[in-house]
């Protein structure tokens, strides 16, 4: 394989990895504070991507064509709307079921995911068809050998990096982050220390969902297309990435995301039948990983209390 093609695969893997990592961080944050899996997370991402698209179309109709402003507005609208949606999900669906069996939370978020997916399919104008996503970033490319380094990919990668570093700083350097970590460690003790548990949960869900919206916009920009079904795939892969890294561990989730993307890329290159069976391969890998390491490569270090 020549270097150009190789770089192309690496770039592709990095982009996928960044998206998976962003989704996985959301899963891991939710699991940290509340010990629940929010199965609607992938569909929140999809709704975020559609919110961004709708914002762009709205701006377009208003005659705003300044690209930098468009990107900012699309990102802001999507992340803020999804942060709100995440908080609403936590407040009205997840927190009320806190003392119910874990199965109920799982089912309720799964069903919410279906509601979101079907809602977009039915009520977004022609939502059942794939939608072209506008190229908001400069699409210039620098040829390096026979590999075209595209500016927009580079921009997205750096933006993703900035977001991840931002989350890291938020969790480790701010009072809010301290509260999140405290709640994740021990809910009761955190409460007695005067931490507003419900507020921390809502904020955590808001942050995680905003990250998903960011990943949704990235997904749209990268593929120049979005459709109502992307959430299911990205949700399952994001969750698997979070598991690979060990649920509740943010850095594990990031590593897991990139690892999964690497695996998928290598699979697509190495296996001759892989192009058609790309998704089959990805899901097969998910199942195998779960069988091999049920609680992740870096597993949770908590023994179960009976």
């Amino acid at each position: 394989m020549d270097l150009g093609l190789f770089s192309q695969y690496v770039m592709n893997g990095l982009m996928l990895g960044m998206m998976y990592a962003l989704v996985a961080v959301g899963f891991t944050l939710f699991f940290g504070v509340l010990d629940v899996i929010n199965f609607s997370h992938g569909d929140v991402l999809m709704v975020g991507s559609f919110t961004g698209l709708a914002t762009y179309l709205g701006l377009d109709a208003l005659g705003v064509v300044w690209p930098a402003f468009q990107v900012t507005a699309v990102l802001a609208a999507a992340t803020l709307a999804m942060a709100l949606l995440g908080a609403v999900i936590a407040r009205y669906l997840v927190l009320p079921l806190k003392s119910a069996p874990a199965l109920n939370t799982l089912l309720i978020t799964l069903m919410l995911g279906t509601v979101l997916r079907e809602g977009i399919r039915m009520f977004y104008p022609e939502g059942a068809n794939p939608k072209p996503f506008p190229a908001l970033l400069p699409t210039d490319a620098y040829p390096l050998g026979n590999f075209n380094l595209r500016i927009d990919n580079l921009l997205m990668l750096s933006a993703g990096l900035v977001v991840i570093v931002g989350v890291h700083l938020l969790i480790n350097r701010t009072k809010l982050g301290l509260a999140i970590r405290a709640v994740a460690q021990d809910e009761e003790t955190a409460k007695t220390m005067g931490i507003n548990f419900n507020l921390v949960v809502l904020v955590t869900f808001a942050i995680g969902s905003a990250l998903a919206a960011f990943a949704g916009i990235m997904n749209g920009l990268y593929y120049n297309e979005t459709n109502f079904g992307i959430g299911l795939l990205l949700g399952v892969i994001g969750f698997s990435s979070a598991i690979i890294g060990g649920l509740g561990n943010i850095y594990g989730a990031i590593i897991g995301g990139f690892l999964f993307a690497a695996l998928q890329t290598v699979g697509a290159v190495a296996l001759p039948f892989a192009s058609a069976y790309k998704d089959v391969f990805a899901f097969g890998v998910v199942i195998l990983i779960m069988a091999w390491r049920p609680t992740g490569l870096i597993s949770e270090k908590v023994s179960e209390r009976v």
Binding site: A102, L103, L107, M122, L232, V236, V280, V286, M290, A291
Partner: protein, 388 residues
């Protein structure tokens, strides 16, 4: 003699309830206008709520607890009356058979997560394995069709064993993901695999049981011609009766008790010497077998199958049926399947929105009535026994 009268009097509320439900279903299935259907729905719901309010449902429950065998016969008779009423109506009979087939699949799911607590979000995939097995076997072999039905179940159970390791090693959320991934994998696999017809799907031959050809209309004398779907209604009714009796017996048996113990508290059950894996494998395999069986007859009835019948949404519909009916209660499944399958077919407005509607319905059920419409009663080993 006196006792006989007492038990007959005890059976009356249940029998009346079933008769009323059958009459309502017949009326509901024969009305065509959308406004009429909506009015019937509202009226029916009002009657059910009123009956429940005045203790009617509790009395019916007592009938069922008192002599279940007799009540089962009443229900079968009701199903036959319903079939007889629509004897030449293809569409309605197809609907009735579909409901029964879905009940069989939902019974499988009940064994899995109603009894043993093994999550399975791949119900539609195992159903689909049954369908595709039937398609391939009827096309390429001359296997008797009884065996094809069984092969559908066995194939689903066999492919299910591939998932056993990940399902056993994982718990809760983790095992949910394994089955979700499997559903997605199954559908994408069918879509790209050309030998299984790809996205276009496959044709399936009709059922032929020892020379009894299911796809021919039944002609009695010169004038009476019965729709061929009646064959499938009878066939699936037999299948359903067997599956239902099996699941009820399973629940009453030591196996059922063990499965409950495993679901309620794995750690405690393990402490008492239960082999957790063994019971989970048992439940998972039985459930997949039932789903595959249902799939095989479904494929033969429809005559055509395609990957779009086996999406993640369809798996969720099966889960919705189990939850709506009341987890672990086979009678609840009967009610829920009828609602979930018949409603969108009759009320055309909601056909498009059915996934949306059922998902919202389950969310509401989970928030406000987590035990479902008909919560599972305690086991009664003695007929007529009532919990205090």
């Amino acid at each position: 003699m006196n006792r006989g009268n007492a038990s007959l009097a005890n059976l009356l509320p249940g029998a009346l309830g079933i008769a009323a439900a059958t009459a309502f279903l017949i009326l509901f299935l024969s009305v065509e206008s959308q406004a009429g259907i909506a009015a019937l729905l509202l009226g029916g719901a009002a009657v059910v709520v009123a009956t429940a309010r005045f203790g009617g449902i509790a009395r019916m429950r007592r009938s069922f607890a008192g002599d279940e065998g007799a009540m089962n016969l009443v229900v079968v008779a009701a199903a036959l009356v319903l079939t007889g009423f629509f004897y030449e109506d293809h569409f309605t009979l197809l609907l009735v058979a579909t409901v029964m087939i879905y009940m069989v699949a939902a019974l499988g799911l009940t064994v899995q997560f109603g009894y043993a607590g093994v999550l399975n979000f791949a119900g539609a995939a195992f159903f689909g394995i049954g369908c595709y097995t039937a398609a391939v076997l009827t096309k390429n072999t001359a296997l008797p069709h009884v065996l094809v039905l069984l092969a559908g179940g066995v194939m689903a159970a066999l492919i299910g064993t591939l998932l056993l390791l990940p399902v056993l090693r994982t718990r809760g959320h983790y095992s949910a993901v394994v089955t979700i991934a499997f559903t997605l994998l199954f559908k994408t696999f069918l879509e790209v695999n050309d030998t299984l017809g790809g996205p276009q799907g496959l044709r399936v031959d009709g059922m032929n049981l020892f020379g009894w050809r299911f796809n021919d209309n039944i002609e009695i004398g010169e004038t009476l011609e019965i729709s061929f779907f009646a064959n499938y209604v009878i066939g699936s009714l037999i299948l359903l009766a067997i599956a239902f009796a099996f699941v009820r017996r399973l629940e009453r048996s030591w196996t059922g008790l063990n499965l409950d113990a495993v679901r309620l508290d794995e750690t405690a059950a393990a402490c008492f010497g239960y082999n957790i894996s063994r019971w989970k494998i048992t439940a998972f395999t039985i459930g997949n077998f039932l789903a595959g069986l249902a799939g095989a007859i479904y494929a033969m009835m429809l005559g055509f199958i395609a990957p779009t019948n086996f999406t993640f949404g369809d798996s969720l519909i099966l889960v919705s049926i189990v939850l709506l009916g009341g987890i672990g209660n086979p009678w609840g499944i009967a009610v829920a399947t009828t609602i979930v399958i018949v409603l969108p077919e009759k009320l055309q407005i909601i056909q498009e929105y059915r996934f949306l509607l059922y998902a919202s319905m389950v969310i509401l059920i989970l928030l406000f009535r987590p035990l479902g419409l008909l919560p599972r009663p305690l086991r009664s080993y003695v007929p007529g026994w009532q919990p205090k």
